[in-house]
Amino acid sequence: MIRFPSFGCLAKHILSLVAICFSISITGCGGNSDLASVTGKITFDDKPLADAFVVFSPTSAGTTSYGRTNSAGEYEMVFSDNEKGAWLGENIVRITTGDVGTGSSSAKKEILPSVYNVNSTLRQTVEKKTNRFDFDLKSSAGKIKQTITE
């Protein structure tokens, strides 16, 4: 009965090896180091803005991330379906409510002034941390421009 404890020991080692492999496979893949988490809240004339489309476009390197506000006006930037965050550095922020109808959903009108979308003056610098950017939009900021055409 000497062998049993030693085999049990080996089994434990194997189990820990399995655990290590599993944790590597979970943490190892994905994760773009140029992205940082960005969340926030958007209000329009002091009311939460629901179903607004948020775009962060970096000005120097990298590419855009997208977000969409929920009914409370909260958004989270998403790079792809399995990567969250926006690109590090200075970003032009564009917030829009207009969209085309797809056949199953109807078209939506732009209600935000053009200084928030097509002629955006909004700039934010995404840093390597959990960023939170709240936007307080005003209808008095300028004219609305309907840019999307069917």
Binding site: F4, G8, D81, D99, G101
Partner: protein, 329 residues
């Protein structure tokens, strides 16, 4: 002392063997899946190469690039005079004789609309090289009408593709009526009549066509701009003008997440390949361009401030005059 029979396996030994096999399979499976995806990506590359070669042969024969979208067939009345915009054929139909589909090309009647027989039956022909093997295409053709209308449920529908022309850098670039004139800077655009001389950036620096995924379900018009081979026809309101369905532009980055707006989805290139998508350049070379390539999503202005515009939008333009390098990594 009792001597144990050492010929048999103990339970622990058996478990250890199973655990080792489990680890090995666990390591191997992702590698096998990656190899399968790599093979599909290569097949997709080859499809785009064929399309690139076909465009070059077309230019050799016709002295101009295929027009992305035919607003009107030969012999039809002038633009403003037409109550219905027919026939709806696109650049991919003009390529048919150059991809060994002359028989199909000769049967199509380009004086009639796509929705009119015999065209309506022929445009259901699925060409094997027109689909990317990684893309989740529907098994049926695209049906964009309702019961009783052209391309409605009673018709065989339009064959689906994953390859679309590059219409330029901005939203609406592919349209003939796009303004300002700087907008119309792609290679495959509606009603064009130009050849290689108009690609002043150089054909090796300009995207000609790329790929896109199918968003709708295939059984109804839930996404109006899903890519179709031969052309596009939107029966609602008598419209056949949907350049977004057979062309994409550089306004938005490739492979947008599923939360993106319908406007982003109908204008952007996309694929199911990991990390980017395939493009054929004007010179016929196929490149895999990462979805992380620099992109600013700059809206069009007159004049365009090209110095502040990202690499991807510059690649989509044939005449921006900017040097583009380092996109292929």
């Amino acid at each position: 002392m009792r001597i144990r029979n050492l010929r048999a396996f103990t339970l622990v030994e058996l478990l250890v063997v199973i655990a080792i096999i489990g680890i090995l399979v666990g390591l191997l499976l992702p590698a096998v899946q990656a190899a399968r995806e790599a093979a599909r990506r290569m097949q997709c590359t080859n499809n785009l190469k064929q399309i690139g070669l076909a465009v070059h042969t077309y230019v050799d024969a016709q002295r101009k690039f295929p027009s992305g979208f035919y607003f009107q067939g030969p012999g039809m009345a002038n633009r403003g005079d037409r109550p219905r915009r027919l026939p709806g054929f696109g650049w991919t139909s003009s390529l048919l004789p150059y991809v060994e589909q002359s028989a199909l090309f000769n049967q199509l009647n380009f004086n009639l609309g796509m929705s009119v027989a015999p065209n309506s039956l022929l445009v259901a022909t699925v060409l094997p090289f027109a689909a990317c093997p990684s893309a989740p295409n529907p098994s049926t053709n695209k049906k964009m009408g309702t019961t009783g209308t052209a391309f409605g449920f009673s018709d065989p529908g339009l064959a689906v593709t994953n390859y679309v022309g590059c219409g330029g850098s901005f939203s609406g670039s592919a349209y003939y009526s796009s303004t300002p004139v700087e907008n119309k800077n792609g290679i495959i655009m509606e009603d064009t009549k130009f050849g290689f001389e108009s690609v002043t950036d150089g054909t090796s620096n300009t995207l000609m066509a790329g790929e896109t995924v199918y968003y709708g379900t295939g059984t109804d018009s839930s996404f109006l701009w899903d890519p179709t081979w031969f052309g596009h026809y939107q029966s609602s309101g008598g419209r056949a003008d949907a350049p977004e369905a057979i062309m994409r532009v550089g306004q938005f980055r490739s492979n947008p997440p599923s939360i993106a707006s319908a406007d982003v989805k109908r204008n952007s290139f996309s694929s199911k390949h990991v990390g980017g998508s395939n493009f054929v350049l004007g010179d016929g070379s196929v490149h895999f361009i990462a979805q992380t390539v620099q992109h600013t999503e700059t809206p069009s202005t007159a004049p365009v401030n090209w110095a502040n515009i990202g690499v991807f939008q510059r690649l989509c333009s044939r005449n921006d005059g900017q040097v583009v390098s380092g996109f292929n990594n």
